[in-house]
């Protein structure tokens, strides 16, 4: 069991991002350095105090540290998987609590757009290739078909997810995709892997994100209001990792919910804004069911009528998410969570926003609840 003493003890002190889009002239290190500079500007930390560094999708920690002038005593390299964003933040908490470092910098960079990464085929050979099965999107398509058959969920209900997030992106000057679309537009979009269409798929773009974590006490000496990590939860579902999960990750999500809510002393009804991993739109529905925002099988009806939009019952992915803001594999969602708690989100700010939850339903399910320190 996670030590409840960790609740509210550590904070995100600074956040930063690069620009999002297509930057063939910049490599991953360059974008990550941009995000780091932005985070230092954000919180005003003297960077000579930084003694922890974790990098994810940045190709190598050593040139990264050299380029931004860091000399850490805690260094970690994580594989380029979306599930590693939540994992990195949780690992950094443990490192801070163990005294491995006092200020942890987490850096993520992705140049998938400029490298024309397609997340399938020869890039990721697997046992199922002879049957033509590849790409994460197809796993989500397979799961969503089962959800449709089992519960009667419709693609028009699924469209509510990407329509709501695009509306948020329209209000986010940093977002890559800023043209609104309707449920009918979603239904008419090009089929990629039936039942999923183009607008159910995340973007592929370049960009980088930086988070700076330290104790709440230390964070209070910096420029911005510290945003405390009030709760964390984790459960993997790796036992049958090579094919689509029979339960829509429900068991892993429930076990994660059982940790994150009690630790943060809140429940689903207290969540002011939800940042939910959305590499493909069905996983948003699965997250809502697994976290207990609605009963299993009822997420389709739950999201109808703009529930996830600003002004709805559960504003989600207020930056536009992976579907419309930027494919930063969970990292940008955690930045948005921090900015919502700080009240920095301008036109897309959720009023009186105090409790923000991040959740990623993946074979490594993670959730984090942020509250004002």
């Amino acid at each position: 069991m996670i030590d409840p003493r960790l609740s509210g003890k550590y904070a995100v002190a600074g956040v930063g991002t690069s620009a999002y889009g297509k930057f063939p002239e910049k490599d991953d290190f360059h974008l990550a350095a941009d995000a780091f500079a932005d985070a230092i500007e954000d919180c005003g930390l003297d960077k000579s105090k930084i003694d922890g560094l974790a990098v994810c999708r940045v190709p190598h920690y050593a040139p990264m540290a050299e380029m931004i002038g860091l000399q850490p005593r805690w260094t970690l390299q994580l594989p380029p998987h979306g599930r590693m964003s939540g994992i990195s933040i949780i690992e950094a908490l443990a490192a801070l609590d163990a005294g491995y470092c006092d200020y942890a910098v987490l850096l993520y960079a992705n140049i998938g757009r400029s490298r024309r990464i397609q997340y399938g085929g020869e890039e990721s050979p697997g046992f199922w290739d002879p049957w033509g099965f590849t790409s994460m999107g197809a796993i989500h398509a397979m799961l969503f078909r089962e959800h449709m058959e089992r519960y009667g969920t419709t693609t028009r209900q699924l469209a509510e997810v990407s329509v709501a997030f695009r509306k948020h992106a329209v209000m986010n000057p940093s977002a890559v995709m800023r043209e609104a679309f309707t449920i009918d537009d979603h239904e008419a979009a090009r089929m990629i892997c039936d039942p999923l269409r183009l607008l159910d798929y995340c973007l592929i773009n370049d960009g980088a994100v930086c988070l700076i974590l330290t104790s709440v006490e230390r964070a209070k000496d910096l420029k911005k209001k510290p945003v405390a990590i009030a709760g964390i939860g984790a459960q993997d579902a790796l036992r049958h990792a090579s094919y689509p999960q029979a339960d829509f990750w429900f068991d892993a999500l429930q076990k994660t919910a059982d940790q994150v809510y009690p630790m943060a002393s809140v429940g689903p009804s207290d969540i002011d804004a939800l940042m939910v991993y959305d590499n493909f739109s069905p996983t948003v529905l699965f997250s809502l069911e697994g976290m207990g925002f609605c009963a299993p099988g009822e997420a389709g009806a739950f999201v109808e009528g703009g529930t996830l939009g600003l002004g709805g019952a559960l504003p989600a992915n207020t930056d536009g998410g992976h579907l419309s803001n930027s494919y930063m594999q969970g990292w940008a969602l955690n930045v948005e969570a921090v900015r919502q708690v700080r009240g920095e989100c301008g036109a897309r700010q959720v009023p009186d926003c105090e409790v923000v939850q991040y959740v990623a339903a993946t074979p490594c399910t993670r959730s984090i609840i942020y509250r004002p320190a």
């Binding site: 290739d129 049957w131 033509g132 099965f133 397979m142 089962e146 058959e149």
Partner: protein, 136 residues
């Protein structure tokens, strides 16, 4: 214009070779642990239940239930492009393990959730005999 359709060939390893060698003879086989007697899929170097490392590869019943299916409208490999759109299904074998495969025949024409299926084999791809599923 007729274009050659192909599929990525299996990457045969000591662990999965028995599966593909049986498939070459039009047999759907599963590994049964010689210690605990349970089966698993896809093939593993050790029994995921008890960690034993020897398996008796035996023909499966070939009976399965349709759990889910998708239709790929884009291709991720050159040889597959001419085959788009094509389906991939998730089935549960009567032996209790799941596998990804393709639907053919009546099952491809009209897939139904939980419909009973039976294995068959296709040789329409070069250098590949592939276990696929039709309506039982």
């Amino acid at each position: 214009m007729l274009t050659d359709v192909s599929r990525p060939l299996p990457k045969r390893t000591p662990v999965n070779a028995p599966f593909w060698e049986h498939a070459d003879r039009q047999i759907l086989a599963l590994p049964w642990c010689e210690s605990c007697g349970k089966t698993h899929f896809p093939p593993s170097p050790r029994c995921p239940h008890c960690l034993h490392d020897a398996f008796d590869w035996r023909p499966a019943s070939g009976r399965a239930t349709l759990v889910s299916w998708v239709v790929f409208h884009r291709s991720y490999w050159d040889g597959v492009a001419a085959d788009v759109p094509y389906n991939v299904c998730l089935v549960e074998l009567d032996e209790g393990v799941r596998m990804l495969s393709n639907l053919v025949g009546a099952a491809e024409e009209a897939p139904r959730y939980k419909m009973p299926l039976k294995v068959t084999f296709t040789d329409r791809f070069p250098d590949l005999i592939l276990p696929v599923f039709d309506a039982a």
